[in-house]
Amino acid sequence: MAPEEIREVIIEILGDIAPDEDLGSLDDAVAFREQLELDSMDFLDIVMELRKRYRVQIPEEEYGQLASMDSTVSYLTPKMAEIAK
């Protein structure tokens, strides 16, 4: 998957986790937490959805990499390079 496809996947997941959020105006450089009403349970769901959908394993000590869209995409790019969308 290319970085822009990974971004789409994350948007899709966020849409399922927090259906009331407006994701159209998301600033990729800014932390999700500062723009969306996400708590730690929701962050766990991003990790779990990636595991459920694409079998991507993210160790707990690396959850911090998922702070913003930019950091998430660059963290996932090598992990998801071989996965087809």
């Binding site: 349970m41 769901d45 779990m48 707990e60």
Partner: protein
């Protein structure tokens, strides 16, 4: 012996079902075993004499309107992938705390309670504002802060002991397992859920919520095994390996999530009966349910819930003598909600709850039990009608449950509704792969129970 489940959940109440949904959604093999023939646990339903009844539900607390992004209700809807509309919650009219000569109305808008305090306790207005900010600052999962004495904190904030007791009355009634005092953490959770968020109810009652939970659990591949009571948790060293059922069959599991209660789970893990009974909660109730030939509003009863207490001091503990203590109680009418499109239940209903003593109810023989039920139906109503209009001349049907009824259908020691006094916020037990969720984890009410199941599943069974 069959396959080992990833997680075996004991109890198909709100917390067990919610935990089951989370785990099944993330592809675990999950079974919920429930001893009763139906789901719901302490928040179940039944049908008798051609009428549907809810067991415990007066109100769903933690109500926030559609679109709210914060608070436990929106969190649970997101976590379980439900729509706000699924629970069809209709907000309350308004409720009241009634003490001799003083009555404080409150609603789902905290402004009403503030105005009432300004009217009745003008010199306590600033103190109430201070309390609100302290409640908001409280961090949910800090066990040390959780166990601070609420009476001590409130004694430092307020100078009027009557107002302290009036604020404590509904919060203790709806979720305090301790006697007289309350854990500060429990107080903050209850204060938010009742005064800052509020009461609501689905027209169809608790059935609707349970129906959604069980349907989702099953659609995700979860197995619900009713009439499957657990006799023992089988261990191998510090690990549980499965359970033995009442009928002797075994089920293997990699981990166990028990919503049976803390002491009840301890017993399943082989703890001595003496140790178990020392820890068990004591607070239990009788509840009378009266069906009327008219709507309660026609009799002048428009409040959703009235929490009453007939003396200046509010005494929250089991009866010191006798089967019940009816000096304090709760009157609730499920009709008095703002249901969409002016829909309404087919009958008028009044529910009255009073504090009761398990042991004294249990020791009655069959004839005495039936007689005492009739007697306490009247005594609790006599007490309540000092604070709400008389309704008994409109009764067309009555039903009633006692502490022994609660024990019989939920297997909770002493029929304790809010569990053991000591809460286990992190859900851990002495076995590495056995966890507790539900009322003994510290969250109460329907929303609290569901959040408890979700958070313990997340913390211990998913990562």
């Amino acid at each position: 012996m069959t396959q080992a489940y990833d997680t075996l959940i004991i109890g198909a109440g709100m917390s067990g079902l919610a935990a089951g949904i989370r785990l099944a959604y993330y592809d675990q093999s999950v079974a919920i075993v429930e001893r009763h023939k139906t789901i719901g646990g302490l928040n179940s339903f039944y049908r008798t004499g051609g009428r549907d009844y809810d067991v415990g539900l007066h109100a769903v607390t933690n109500f926030t309107p559609k679109g709210a992004k914060k608070g436990p209700l929106s969190r649970l809807l997101r976590q379980l992938r439900f729509q706000w509309e699924d629970f069809a919650l209709a907000p309350q009219n308004q409720s009241r705390i009634a003490f001799p000569g003083v009555s404080l109305a409150f609603s789902n808008d905290i402004m009403l309670l503030e105005a009432e305090i300004a009217r009745c306790f003008p010199d306590q207005v600033q103190a109430f504002a201070n309390l609100r900010s302290q409640v908001l600052e409280y961090d949910d999962l800090d066990q040390a802060a959780f166990e601070i004495s609420t009476r001590k904190v409130l004694g430092q904030i307020f100078s009027d002991p009557l107002l302290i007791d009036m604020i404590l009355c509904p919060l203790m009634w709806y979720g305090n397992a301790r006697q007289h005092d309350m854990d500060w953490g429990q107080f903050c959770i209850m204060f938010r859920s009742i005064f800052l968020e509020g009461f609501a109810r689905p027209l169809r009652g608790v059935r609707l919520i349970l129906k959604h939970l069980v349907k989702k659990f099953r659609s995700l591949g979860g197995q619900l095994l009713l009439r499957h009571g657990v006799q023992e948790i089988v261990r191998d060293g510090d690990q549980a390996v499965g359970v033995i059922l009442d009928d002797g069959r075994e089920i293997q599991a990699k981990r166990i999530l028990s919503s049976a209660g803390w002491v009840e789970t301890q017993r399943l893990m082989g703890q001595s009966e003496v140790a178990v009974q020392q820890e068990a909660g004591q607070l239990t109730f009788i509840e009378t349910i009266t069906t009327l030939d008219c709507m309660p509003a026609k009799l002048g009863m428009e409040d959703t819930i009235v929490f009453y207490n007939d003396s200046e001091r509010f005494d929250w503990r089991p009866p010191q003598d006798g089967l019940c203590d009816v000096r304090t109680g709760v009157v609730c009418s499920p009709n008095n909600y703002l249901y969409a499109d002016d829909q309404q239940l087919s009958d008028g209903v009044v529910r009255i709850t009073s504090i009761a003593d398990f042991e004294r109810w249990r020791s009655l023989d069959e004839a005495a039990y039936r007689r005492e039920k009739l007697r306490w139906y009247d005594l609790s109503a006599d007490s309540a009608v000092r604070f709400v209009p008389e309704f008994r001349h409109h009764a067309i049907d009555t039903d009633m449950f006692t502490p022994t009824t609660i024990k019989r259908f939920t297997w909770h020691d002493n029929g304790a509704v809010y569990g053991a006094p000591q809460k286990r916020l992190d859900g851990r037990t002495q076995l590495e792969n056995v966890f507790v969720c539900g009322t003994d984890q510290g969250f109460v009410g329907i929303v609290g129970a569901i959040i408890s199941g979700i958070s313990i599943a997340n913390q211990h069974c998913l990562k």
